[in-house]
């Protein structure tokens, strides 16, 4: 299993060049059964990453490009009257897939956003009183433009909490960029990828993630991180218990990727930024360091009093 995992990791990294860290985080997010938010400028490979993930894990893949005139029905689906049977039946929207790439989610209206996010959270869709479960596994990889760009509807904090991680890809390093330019279209490369794992494997892996051992010392560390984020005064509001659970889940997945059956503080620290930063709003005039880095440096790994 871990061999297959390694192989899938390197497959993804072979397509998304020079982004090992982010690829690893994205895979960890999938293993932890969390949704992923990628925040970046257009054209840095968000779509490629999502597509590659889908290929490697042999997931059914769907993509929605969000626009400002989109309605919830465009994603969830509509009830259509079937004159032959004289009844309504549900025409499934693009959300009924295993891995949904929700592109530029902050371009659409809050109404549509919340429709998607609620479906994400509940893993089911209710239309006209009929509830239909979404496929299992089900992941959303949403992308978002930097909030400073015009014409966007930033996701409210409560919605952001539904994403386990937020990562950004950034421009590739110069040599990687050269390779990328020389190597032809990445999307094509992605489409040519063979599936390394099957969706059932992913389900099994997520079960393994849940079994990863978390010692009392580590729980203590995570708890002190939460407490510090609330007490330090650097953030408008601290991390919620849900964030803490997410942090532990992500750290477990990270440990699995590392081939360990227990979590160490490094695992927590590795996922700390992606898991926490989109949930923490710094107060005005706060430290210039990223929230993750700030927490990491300020909270002792080992209890000191």
């Amino acid at each position: 299993m871990s061999k297959a995992l390694r192989q899938s990791l390197s497959s993804v990294a072979g397509v998304v060049l020079g982004k090992e860290e982010q690829v690893r985080l994205a895979v960890a997010c999938l293993l932890a059964r969390g949704h992923l938010l990628i925040e970046d400028l257009p054209g840095v490979g968000k779509t490629t990453l999502a597509q590659t993930l889908a290929r490697v894990f042999s997931l059914q893949y769907g993509r929605v490009q969000f626009t400002s005139d989109m309605l919830p029905a465009d994603i969830l689906g509509v009830s259509v009257y079937d004159p032959d049977n004289r009844e309504f039946h549900l025409k499934e929207g693009p959300i009924f897939t295993q891995l949904l790439l929700a592109d530029e989610i902050n371009r659409t209206t809050p109404k549509t956003q919340s429709a998607l996010l609620e479906a994400m959270e509940e893993r089911q869709v209710t239309l006209d009183g009929v509830t239909r479960p979404l496929p299992d596994p089900f992941f959303v990889v949403a992308t978002q433009n930097p909030v400073t760009q015009t014409g966007t509807f930033p996701l409210p904090e409560s919605q952001l909490d539904r994403f386990l991680m937020r990562i950004s890809l950034g421009y590739p390093a110069p040599e990687m960029e050269r390779e990328l330019l020389a190597g032809g279209d990445r999307r094509e490369a992605a489409e040519q990828l063979e599936g390394v794992l099957q969706p059932q494997d992913l389900v099994k892996l997520s079960r393994a993630v849940e079994k990863v051992h978390v010692s009392a010392d580590l729980v203590d560390y995570v708890q002190r991180i939460l407490e510090y984020s609330r007490a330090c005064g650097e953030f408008v509001s601290g991390l919620s218990p849900r964030a803490g659970l997410g942090l532990l889940r992500a750290a477990r997945a990270w440990a699995v990727l590392d081939g360990r059956d227990y979590v160490i503080p490094e695992d927590v620290q590795a996922v700390l930024g992606p898991v926490c930063e989109h949930r923490l709003q710094p107060v005005a005039g706060g430290s210039a360091l990223g929230a993750g880095q700030q927490l990491l440096e300020a909270v002792p790994v080992v209890r000191g009093s």
């Binding site: 051992h213 010692s215 010392d217 580590l218 059956d261 227990y262 979590v263 160490i264 503080p265 490094e266 620290q269 927490l295 990491l296 440096e297 300020a298 909270v299 002792p300 790994v301 080992v302 209890r303 000191g304 009093s305």
Partner: protein, 677 residues
């Protein structure tokens, strides 16, 4: 008006408790309304603290103060003296709570608290009282710590913890100072505590009085023998002699008219009188040396076996072989005695002594007189005569009882021929009368007999119920000889004690049910224990006077002079204070960490000590990276350590002791590698 000072919330509890607890003992000794004042002031202050009430106005405060002072004056009739003064202090202490305007006022309350607490010892001196004071001291100190930490982050239980720790740390130094600091004589004389009536022997004796005394379980004194104690039958603790008889009552005689004359009393200082020098020359073995710790009796006489010599300060000796103190014993008093029981006493009597010991009032007890004269003429010697009386007492139907019947005018006649029921004073009185009636000088001696051994403290307890009276007769060629008529009537009184004697005589004991309770092993043990604690408390704390101090210091230092004492004090200070200081200052880690957590901090300390900048959030693997940049070989060792650490602390199988030690060894390797560079 300035903002009212707010006692920090975390200090409030201690502040209130401090006031109530420090004031409490004084409520018991002082007027009862003082307790109401204390509680009221605390309550009032509490409501102010909660914002329910305003601070009282100046006029109100003044009125309260006036009322308090007036109340004290009304209760005691004065504002001066220790008791009234302390009550005044407690009142002011409570009222000061309503005057907390600034931090300074809070400080004043605390200082008053310390003072009030100290004055508890004016009335209460037991070990329990001291324990109580120590606990309250911790509370007062906790309040002081609380008000010194104004920010809201303080926690009440941290204060009491720190206060407790600081007090415990202070104890060794306190003990040293207590043992070594010289005891100076009082700088000015203090008015003694107001007198309270005490049970005990008085300076006169009438039939029925000693038996009354025997109903009391109260402690009279404790004795510790340095070597062997004399057998029970020989333990006659002489207190006073009665020579004057008015037909009913026996009194101390003679001393009144010529008190302090050197013929009758030697105070132990100055050149000894001739009679005492004679005694000294006649001293003969065996000897008993012992210490007596006497409960306050409000009398001057002390108890000792015959013939006593004492070198304790203030203790003198009287011509009738008794010890006397120059002033009344108003607090527990200890003295050392060496007794020579076999020593002859007064080969010769002066005419005056003789007359005094033959005195009898005319016209009393005609029947006894007649009987005495008849028997004397029948007997060949004085001894034979006395023996006949004792035999008669033993043979005839005489009863030894705590409930003797009332006697009329001729006490001895009625007792010997009619009632025949009596306690030791009846027998002693009767025998003395019969001796004097035939010109044998005799006197009643009062004191205690026996005493119960406490196996825990290796000492004897002599209680009021051991009170006894017997007879001394002067016989030519022998001097004063002790005769105990009670022994003839109830031998077990002398051999085994009062309870046994009464039992045998078919009479109920003094304590009734309680008495039987006393015999239960557990109760008995508890009794011994509490008696022992009390005794040890007295011996080492209350009674630790200049003499005891000198004795102890002589043991330690060989010789006591200011230089040596100074040196000992310095050495003690160094020995006690340095380790404590090191403990306080060098104690680095916060308590409550697991061995693993400590291990991690030790590693961080080690790296920081080598000048590396390590923030506390650094995880084990990062450490390796950081070290690798500076010192690859150390990084390798650190890698081993951090891998193991990780596995042991975060892995599913927690590490054991062996793993701990391995980690520690690995840390040492890291240290060596770091230092080698």
């Amino acid at each position: 008006m300035a903002r009212v000072y707010q006692v920090p919330r975390h200090a409030m509890l201690w502040m209130m408790l401090a006031v109530i607890l420090a004031g409490l003992p004084h409520v018991i000794t002082g007027p009862a309304w003082l307790g109401g004042l204390l509680v009221g002031a605390v309550l009032w202050r509490w409501l102010i603290h909660r914002g329910r009430l305003r601070m009282p106005r100046r006029a109100v405060r003044l009125a309260l103060l006036g009322a308090m002072v007036g109340g004290i004056f009304y209760h005691f009739g004065t504002l001066f003296g220790p008791t009234a003064g302390v009550s005044l202090l407690v009142g002011a202490f409570a009222l000061k709570l309503l005057e907390l305007f600034r931090l300074r006022d809070a400080y004043v309350v605390i200082v008053l608290g310390y003072f009030v607490l100290a004055t508890t010892f004016l009335h209460q001196r037991g070990a329990l009282a001291a324990l109580y004071v120590l606990v309250v001291l911790a509370v007062v100190t906790a309040a002081l710590i609380g008000i010194n930490q104004p920010e809201s982050g303080g926690r009440a239980r941290d204060h009491i913890k720190l206060a407790g720790v600081m007090l415990l740390q202070s104890l060794p130094l306190t003990v040293l100072l207590f043992l070594i600091m010289p005891r100076i004589a009082p700088l000015w004389s203090m008015e003694a505590d107001e007198s309270r009536a005490r049970t005990g022997m008085s300076d006169s004796m009438a039939p029925g009085e000693v038996s009354d005394l025997s109903q009391s379980d109260e402690l009279a004194f404790r004795v510790t023998f340095e070597d062997e104690a004399p057998p029970r039958a020989q333990r006659y603790w002489r207190g006073m002699t009665y020579t004057r008889f008015d037909g009913r009552r026996w009194r101390q005689g003679g001393l009144g008219e010529s008190w302090r004359t050197r013929d009758l009393f030697f105070p132990g200082r100055g050149s000894p009188p001739q009679w005492w020098e004679q005694w000294r020359d006649q001293r003969a073995r065996p000897t008993y040396t012992y210490q007596v710790v006497m409960e306050p009796s409000r009398r001057r006489w002390l108890y000792a076996l015959a013939v006593p010599f004492s070198e304790t300060e203030d203790v003198g000796v009287a011509r009738d072989f008794r010890l006397l103190r120059e002033k009344e014993i108003d607090s527990t008093f200890a003295y050392r005695v060496t007794s020579y029981p076999e020593m002859p006493r007064d080969y010769r009597l002066t005419e005056r002594q003789r007359q005094r010991n033959l005195q009898l009032p005319a016209g009393f007890n005609p029947r006894t007189r007649a009987r005495a004269e008849q028997w004397r003429s029948d007997a060949a010697t004085d001894q034979a005569y006395i023996q006949r009386i004792l035999d008669w007492l033993g043979r005839e139907q005489f009863y030894y009882t705590l409930q003797p019947p009332e006697l009329g005018r001729n006490t001895v006649d009625e007792f010997l021929f009619d009632t025949r029921r009596g306690f030791c004073e009846h027998y002693a009185s009767a025998l003395t009368f019969m001796l004097r009636a035939v010109d044998i000088p005799a006197r009643v001696v009062a004191g205690y007999h026996g005493g119960e051994a406490n196996p825990l403290g290796d000492h004897l307890r002599v209680r009021q119920r051991d009170a006894h009276a017997w007879v001394e007769a002067w016989l030519p060629g022998q001097g004063w000889v002790r005769f105990d008529p009670t022994a003839a009537v109830a031998p077990s009184r002398i051999e085994y004690g009062l309870d046994r004697a009464l039992e045998e005589q078919g009479s109920q004991g003094a304590g009734g049910v309680l008495d039987n309770l006393d015999q239960l092993p557990l109760i008995l043990q508890m009794g011994y224990l509490s008696d022992y604690v009390e005794f040890a408390w007295y011996k080492w704390v209350l009674g630790y006077d200049q003499g005891a101090r000198l004795e102890l210091l002589t043991d330690w230092l060989g010789k006591v002079n200011p230089v040596r004492v100074g040196l000992a004090l310095t050495a003690g200070l160094v020995i006690i204070v340095l380790p404590l200081a090191a403990w306080i200052l060098l104690q680095r880690r916060a308590p409550g960490l697991s061995v693993w957590q400590r291990e991690y901090w030790r590693m961080l300390d080690l790296l920081r000590g080598e000048g590396m900048r390590v923030h506390p959030g650094v995880a084990p693997r990062d450490l390796v990276e950081r070290v690798a940049r500076r010192n690859p070989s150390a990084a390798e060792a650190l890698q081993t350590w951090s891998r193991d650490y990780e596995r042991l602390v975060y892995g599913p199988h927690p590490g054991d002791r062996a793993a701990q030690q391995r980690l520690r060894r690995e840390r040492r390797v890291v240290r060596r590698a770091l230092r080698r560079r």
